[in-house]
Amino acid sequence: MTRPNFDAARMLGHYRTMSRIRAFEEAAEAGQKSGEVRGAVHLSIGQEAIASGVCVNLAAADYIVSTHRGHGHSIAKGADVGAMMAELYGKAGGTCRGKGGSMHIADFTIGMLGANGVVGAGIPIAAGAAHAVKLRGGGEVVVCFFGDGAMNRGPFLEGLNWARIYDLPILFVCEDNGFAATTRTRSLSGGRGPDARAESLGIPAMEIDGNDVQLVDETASGLLSAIRAGGGPRFLLCRTYRLKGHTAHDTAPYRPASEVEERRRHDPILKCREALLLHGVPAAELERVEAEAKAEVGSAVETARRMPWPDQSIAWEDVQDVGAAQWR
């Protein structure tokens, strides 16, 4: 069935963004398997529509705060894929010069204020960025991504309440993939869910299918317009599914294969592809987009492999200004 308000060019843009995220995640997974990508890597495969659908509505000056599962948010906000891959490889040309890795990717030049290794920790940080925007009378908005697992942390309550009482320009985006690490979130959470918790604090909340990129785009667009108009915080709950384990090493034996197979039919890239074909975009065009995404990421991997390690001297840089001589 064709969709109203279908904008083929915009949807093709989503298809491109999601394909680039998918290709990046698959390369990260391969790199982890080969041992070239170290540390913990949390893949967002299956959740790409949320990053793409939300971030397409942001200007370069707007801010995002991300999570440990944050590659997709960075790519959708405009981070350089080559620098991101180099960061995963721990190389000198990485976004963080090899000092952060997957969980600490940040790119302040595009308003990406950082992934975070601590669940829920980004929520008050994002609220604070929005507080600063309001304090200086700026027009930017802040988008705060977090997972469903974060709703049981104190900073979720404190940060949402903060955004409400100071009427801050912030969109909270809860990516509900059903799992808090390796346990089903629902089994650990009281009440009706994160959106109900947001509403109890006076923040208007919506729940949508987070695998439908057009719906995410349209909904985020409306919410961000309301925020930009001075409406204060909004909360968007996106239902999705993590097609991979908690980390790239997690084979997720705690859920039946049939469940994953069923959810694979709702893969957001697949759904986007079907919609594009239905609206007359030629398959060859989609294949070209996919091939370009893979080529871009493949080249990023090759470049990262060849890149030198950071010089050990940089380990002593950027700790703090005061007392620089005493870091050792």
Binding site: R97, G98, G100, A106, G117, A121, N161, W162, G323
Partner: protein
Amino acid sequence: MAVMTYLEAGRRALEEEMRRDPRVWALGEDLGRGGVFGQYKGLQETFGPARIVDTPISEAAIMGAAVGAAMVGTRPVVEMRFADFALCAVDELVNQAAKARYMFGGQGRVPLVVRQPSGMWRSSAAQHSQSLEAWYAHIPGLVVVCPATPADNHGLLAAAIRCDDPVVYMEHKDLWGLEGEVPEGAEPTALGKARRVRAGGDITIVTWSKMVHVAAEAAAMLERDGIAADLIDLRTIWPWDREMVLGSAGTTRRCLVVHEAVQAGGFGAEIAATVAEELGVKVKRLGAPRLPVPYAPPLEEACKIAPERIVAAAREML
């Protein structure tokens, strides 16, 4: 030069810095009515509720919001009410504020000050009396400041607010009413530089915060017996002024470190170990017993270091 209390000196430093730099703002509980001790009195009337922000009792959000606000170009001054309550915001301070610049490869700064009123005061008991400066000194990325005098609470707070690093700023609650001269129009006091309280060649005594005054009494008692102590107020715990301490201990060949915090694992151990490693001279520490601070005055006294104990420890070393 004006005479004012330690509390007023801090209040004035914040007021001056807020006038000087529109990016500076303060946030914490009850600031509009002056803060729990009156350190913010009148500031909301002067600067308005957007820059002197009353917050909910949400320590994690207060600290976390300050981190986010600092990252995007403002300079928040965080009030934690009691150092003990800052423990509700340790992730935000230790995992976020202290590490953001480093783990993001030098992108961004987190220029915030977190004021943590510390120390034993009026039988405040176990959850309102701690001195935890050593915890924060242990964390790369943080600057830790413990002012002892009104002049320093003015000059060091101004320096902390102008500093681009996250600064843990620990005022001692028992010093709020202490009066002293504060220079007017002076430049901020340099962070990381100790102050020689009195010069002497027989023994080095290194201390900070309220214990500076207790140690000064002890030094006066020692002087009556002909023993000249070189008394150093460290002022900044990290980075600490190794040059002054090692210079002094190299001359006196004896170094006694005194602090109100629990002795075991206290920052005195770091100083004593460094002095011993570098100079091979005699070292000793004096700190509180490893007890939660008790309530009843005679019990609280058991945790405090009296000047007589400093005198006795110094004599043992001579």
